[in-house]
Amino acid sequence: MTSLFEYAPAPESRSIVDIRPSYGLFIDGEFVDGTGTPLKTVNPATEEVLSEVATAHEDDVDRAVRAARRAFVKTWGPMRPADRGKYLFRIARLLQERAREFAVLETLDNGKPIRESRDVDVPLAAAHFFYHAGWADKLEHAGLGPAPRPLGVAGQVIPWNFPLLMLAWKVAPALATGNTVVLKPAETTPLTALLFAEICQQADLPPGVVNIVTGAGETGRAVISHPDVDKVAFTGSTEVGRSIARAVAGTEKRLTLELGGKAANIVFDDAPIDQAVEGIVRGIFFNQGHVCCAGSRLLVQESVHDDVVASLQRRIGTLRVGDPMDKNTDLGAINSAEQLARIRELTAFGETEGATCWQPDGDLPDRGFWFKPTVFTDVSPAHRIARDEVFGPVLSVMTFRTPDEAVAKANNTTYGLSAGIWSEKGSRILKVTDQLRAGVVWANTFNEFDPTSPFGGYKQSGYGREGGRQGLAAYLRSDS
């Protein structure tokens, strides 16, 4: 049977964005050529090449760091804090004014549904600039002593899952606190960062305050190991995080890391079931599961396991998968062939290890990188799909009988980024929240973000916070 009510295609127009055939590096306020071999960035939904982007070698990175240092010493550092704030307000406004352009470009380059880039990524990115703009001239009230000082040049390396939003999480606090920035976007998703460079020009941001160097791992290494970088901020895999921490060891560089996760989403038998099911879906299928804080381990109280799984499968059957540019798409494309291969590898483990794999019926597009929403039941805590971060739309379901067991299983991971709790009992929520070793706990909700709410991990999910008053500490030197 087919649905009576088929939605006609509702594609967002891509004409609003003008993608250039090639992009340079953004150094000292100008687009310049890079000395490395340019890389091609691809629309993962179609495998169409969108543009060619310069690659920064060590020399280019050095130019960028020197530009950032000059700006720190000559313009941005000495600037009146209120004026720094005004620049950030300008940037926030420009992001809002050009929101559609950013949303379309993000979806083309990343593969995420336009609904998410339009309703989540871009508005939140603007909100981060607004929030931090206000801090610029109030830092003495941030609880870091009477006269906190900026660190200098921040080298920042960000991932491909939220390209613009992660840029905002990094750049906004760095600039608000008086630092200057050399940022390296992910190699598969550089385009919104380069559009952001245009925003910096439009805002008349002094040259060198923000520098954007595109490239792959080599470029990232050059950024974090440059001797004149004072602060390294990285969001990405725990594996790369380790190597960065190693590289920074023995230097004066300050470091914050926001790494992987394997969050438990705990559903008690008194949960508001329909909302819990929505939360489970949002927890693991938001952004195709390319979310470090994704609720990838579902822990369900045994007494409601069958009901929850049945409801979940019914709900997953209604997810609309396909063209990310269609406004009705719920699940878009996997960001790259490489990531798709990793998801396939780990889910194959799930099956050979004895878990039961469930996927809804239906077809996926012929071109591009796709993976169906997937639920594994009969998962044991020892299975790799219960331990390794898949970073894709793959959920592992396990059960528990008592709150103690739920907490023990939830905490049984080397990660500690986030967790979810679903229960209508207030005291239980507070107790379990207290016991969970995770940096963000969503109770009766999941995957909510806000610039006022500090975000970051426990354990091997990293250290340092982004957002809120607490997030400022990463970019300031305090005397107390």
Partner: protein
Amino acid sequence: MTHVLDPNALADTSSGTGTLPDPFADVTRSNDAFRAFLHGLPGVDQVGAEARAKVLGTRSIKTTAKAWAIDTAISMVDLTTLEGSDTPGKVRALAAKARRPDPTDPSCPAVAAVCVYGDLAGVAKEALAGTGINVAAVATAFPSGRASREVKLADVRDAVAGGADEIDMVIDRGAFLTGRYLDVFEEIVAVKEACGPAHLKVILETGELVTLDAVRRASWLAMLAGGDFIKTSTGKVSPAATLPVCLVMLEAVRDFRAATGRQVGVKPAGGIRTTKDAVKHLVLINETVGSDWLSPDWFRFGASSLLNDLLLQRQKLRTGHYSGPDHVSVD
């Protein structure tokens, strides 16, 4: 284009039907037992329900899908007049409109029913004779429901005698809010009996129940008591129909069918004025309970001004240019 991965996801997988749903046979043995049952239903998190309704409200329904949605919505309208100033003339005019909503376009579907006060049911019946359009009458001391049970039942019998095919009753919200669930239940059972062959729609007046937890409980109560439809509102209390309320009621009929095999219809009423509102509701049905409810047999809009907006949008789709209020009839 995107497609739903599994179009059968929301199809009925349960089997068996029965009048008094087996698993719940003795939940009404006492008020305490009934209370325990209703309070044992899963809670509803208001923020989560509102967020879900909001996302569904952003669905973009275009071209062919929109044309289908408009015609479907028209066919689901209970064209309503519930004013103290209603007259036979007004009801006849409404009936004429119900049969041919757009006189310039015979392809435009008729509405599902005309909804009037009980004393005008006969007038409506006569005016709609042979059309297949139902007469719905509000009864049970609508809209407050503040009368003795005898008076309410007499009201129902009177409307049915007048020719009403459907009775829209109101529950005793006072009794519900003070926890006298069994009284509310028994009254619905009695009204259902008085309806005879007429279909019973049970108005919960969700604007007075306030919380979504109460909406879910009242929905189950009404379904267990034999209601054929559960309806949000009288239209006399604000807020009337809202998307989150409708979502919770759709979840209730979905779960009720899964548990008992019996399908119950849903009727949001009041406050739905635009095509956009109507389409949002159809999306809500489509993605919550699926195609089985996408028919006038199982979903209705209680509305008056909605129809004209649907007609204007329909004309726009047909002609390619915007229309104006003078191109649809004044009720």
